[in-house]
């Protein structure tokens, strides 16, 4: 079956001005503004003789750290569920995986594998349930996902307090119960992937393992959407009636897409924790979906369409801003400007995507 692709933009006619206008239209104004912001930030960094290579190192670290969480949004969009603001559901599964792995005290690679495995294993049925709910609440997936995520995070906060664990490394020293807010991964799987094949070039530290995993995961997701199962999911999204005539139920494919997204989020947070060095419990996952969504949108994704290129470009652009903004702006102004900038850019981008008349 053929899915008609939108016609590529016609060759610009009538001079450079039109060409530029067409180019801006194609890229989207916000994207250009954000790219310009990155350039300006690096410009200031050069001008004030900051250590640019350390800024680049930190940016790379954060790209790898957050990459999988952004990638986790892709299957949901491919499946027609839209922006998956319910990402915290998957993240919580991954956190359970981390806690179990830490509780058994499995060191190094085994710990990482165990956390990912348990996370993914729990995320599977959670994704099935979430997908079932999203099928019954069509048209309001974003809102239902957001608040289901919020409710799950606060419900799990009670669970972390009451969890029947007695491992002194995990629970509060006073009282002897209730998991700590942040669990350190030192001695467990702290930086095992970041350190794998890491090298320094021109003063820039490259966390090879995490970056390779991110790119490999992108490639795998890309490959999956070329397999029979993957094509079925996208086809049901782009033309549900036609798919139904071909014997594909789009309820089924939407659930598959949601499960895929949730499992990726669970693994994503384990990789995040690995690179960050800590597992953050309680309210930490509450707002994690929003920066990830902003990454995807900054890269060029929309509510109904996203590609691997959008994931990669968006993650690089937004995470670079988040990393560079604090040290650079603090050269110019006192106070933490980066948090304000993050709020404006992140939510401005989501707002722009929500209110676009033409949803490409």
């Amino acid at each position: 079956m053929s899915v008609t692709a939108p016609e590529p933009a016609a060759a610009p006619r009538g001079g450079i001005a039109t060409a530029i206008r067409e180019g801006v239209k194609e890229m989207g104004f916000p994207r250009l503004a954000i790219a310009a912001f990155v350039v300006i930030l690096f410009g200031i960094a050069f001008a004030t003789k900051m250590n640019v290579s350390s800024l680049v190192s930190d940016s790379l670290l954060r790209v790898g750290r957050n990459g999988l969480l952004v990638l986790a949004l892709l299957p949901a969009i491919q499946g027609g569920v839209g922006l998956n603001f319910g990402l915290p559901l998957g993240i919580l599964c991954g956190l359970v995986g981390c806690v179990v792995s830490l509780n058994f005290g499995v060191p190094g690679w085994g710990g990482l594998g165990l956390a990912c495995g348990i996370g993914a294993l729990i995320a599977w049925p959670v994704g099935v349930g979430y997908g079932w709910l999203l099928n019954r609440t069509r048209g309001q997936e974003m809102m239902v996902g957001t608040y289901l995520g919020f409710a799950a995070v606060s419900g799990m906060s009670i669970f972390w307090l009451l969890a029947p664990l007695r491992n002194p490394a995990l629970v509060w020293a006073i009282g002897g119960r209730g998991l700590r807010t942040t669990l350190t991964l030192t001695g467990s799987f702290d930086h095992v992937l970041d350190g794998l094949g890491a090298f320094t070039i021109a003063g820039v530290k490259v966390p090879t393992g995490t970056l390779v995993l991110f790119i490999a995961a992108c490639a795998l997701v890309g490959l999956f959407f070329r397999t029979r199962a993957g094509i079925t999911i996208s086809a049901a999204r782009s033309n549900p009636r036609f798919a139904k005539a071909a014997g594909i139920s789009d309820e089924h494919t939407r659930t598959q897409a949601t499960v895929f997204s949730t499992v990726l989020a669970a693994i994503g947070i384990v990789i995040f924790a690995q690179s960050y060095g800590f597992v953050q419990l309680y309210t930490a996952p509450l707002l994690m979906a929003f920066p990830a969504v902003a990454c995807l949108l900054i890269g060029g994704g929309t509510l109904s369409r996203a590609t691997l290129a959008h994931v990669l470009i968006g993650t690089f652009l937004f995470q670079t801003i988040l990393t560079v903004a604090l040290p650079v702006t603090s050269q110019v102004i006192q106070g933490d400007f980066s948090e304000t900038a993050r709020l404006i850019i992140q939510n401005g981008m989501i707002l722009y995507a929500l209110t676009r008349k033409v949803d490409r």
């Binding site: 289901l148 919020f150 009670i158 106070g335 709020l343 929500l354 008349k357």
Partner: protein, 354 residues
């Protein structure tokens, strides 16, 4: 008959469940009715108008207006301005009330314009618009005030010379309305303030909302809420009315936030507004209101129920599990869960109907 009884029970199930939770919590924490009454006297007055600001958009079919956070910011801006000029007391409050009108109407019109561009996803747009506006608010008050916007008030500014302090003492405004007609009663041996004027204002808002539904605009909004397409063919200016409804809601939220602040007496510059949307919406929904239907009575009952639970749950958590933290997480969980369930039911019914 039985179907009607069933639907009545279904409507009352949610508030009954929450009443039971409140009673159970109060029982295990050994809370006296006097204690609860004392808490409610101040909490009801300071939250009821915020909850009522949600009613008009629901009537117009816009759903729960998560954008009332923006209205709360407008109210705070007005409160900050009168504090900077050092105008206190009832006059200061009245000035803040007036100043909030143009600010809130401007913000509300903007939000309404956004909602018109995002038909069918107004709620998520309102939520994100609130986050976005929070960023702009921080930009103005944390960085522009004192640097770009001249302000010579060292007591209000951060030590660095620009940016508003994290807490602003609203000494001038505190109890400006609550104590306009001072009356105190003795409960459990201590004097308790009864905010008569604030209750009067809440009453006025109730009356306005009831009256509004009978006006021409109110009828048009109701028609839009039932079926926007039919309303549009009947010649109702749907897009304009949606903006009007949002602007009114934003204005009421601004006024509601002012009432809230005059009772609290301190402004947490960067966080007082953040939770307004979530708590007001949850309060409305615990009364059994839905995304598409809510009444004035439900707003009042919801405010009382939700805030009773708010007071009770940390204490009950402490009594039951020896940890107040559990109760605090529990009440946040309840707020989120109530909103989630309402959203799910709304979308579910809509899908079945359409």
């Amino acid at each position: 008959m039985s179907a009607r009884l069933r639907s009545m029970l279904a409507h009352a199930a949610v508030p009954l469940l929450f009443s039971a939770l409140c009673v159970f919590g109060a029982f295990v924490a050994h809370l006296s009715p006097e204690y609860l009454l004392r808490e409610m006297l101040s909490r009801f007055g300071r939250n009821a108008v915020l909850v009522m600001s949600l009613l008009i958009p629901i009537l117009a079919g816009l759903g729960l207006n998560f954008g009332i956070v923006i209205g709360a910011m407008a109210g705070q801006i007005a409160a900050i301005i009168v504090t900077v000029f050092g105008i206190g007391g009832p006059a200061g409050f009245a000035l803040a009330w007036l100043l909030a009108i143009p600010i809130a109407l401007l913000f509300g019109t903007g939000t309404g314009w956004l909602f018109n561009r995002a038909k069918g996803r107004e709620m998520v747009t309102g939520l994100i618009a609130g986050f976005f506006a929070n960023g702009l608010y921080q930009l103005v008050f944390l960085f522009a005030v004192g640097s770009l916007i001249p302000l010579k008030a060292p007591t209000l500014l951060l030590p660095q010379g620009y940016g508003l302090r994290n807490t602003v003492d609203l000494v001038g405004l505190q109890y400006a309305m609550d104590d306009l007609i001072p009356w105190k009663i003795t409960l459990e041996g201590s004097l308790v303030r009864v905010p008569l004027v604030t209750f009067g204002i809440v009453g006025l808002f109730c009356a306005f909302n009831l009256f509004f539904q009978r006006t021409r605009l109110g009828q048009q909004l109701r028609a839009m809420g039932q079926d926007p397409h039919v309303a549009a063919t009947a010649g109702i200016p749907v897009e304009r009315n949606r903006i009007l409804a949002t602007a009114l809601s934003t204005l009421f939220a601004a006024w509601g936030q002012l009432l809230f602040l005059q009772n609290i007496g301190t402004l947490n510059t960067y966080s007082s507004h953040e939770q307004v949307g979530m708590f007001s919406i949850a309060a409305l929904l615990v009364s059994g209101a839905t995304v598409s239907r809510a009444t004035v009575g439900q707003a009042l009952i919801g405010t009382i129920l939700f805030h009773t639970l708010f007071v009770v749950s940390p204490l009950a958590g402490k009594a039951l599990a020896g940890d107040a933290q559990i109760g605090e997480y529990f009440r946040v969980f309840v707020a989120y869960a109530v909103i989630t369930v309402a959203l799910v039911l709304h979308a579910w019914q809509k899908k079945r109907a359409g």
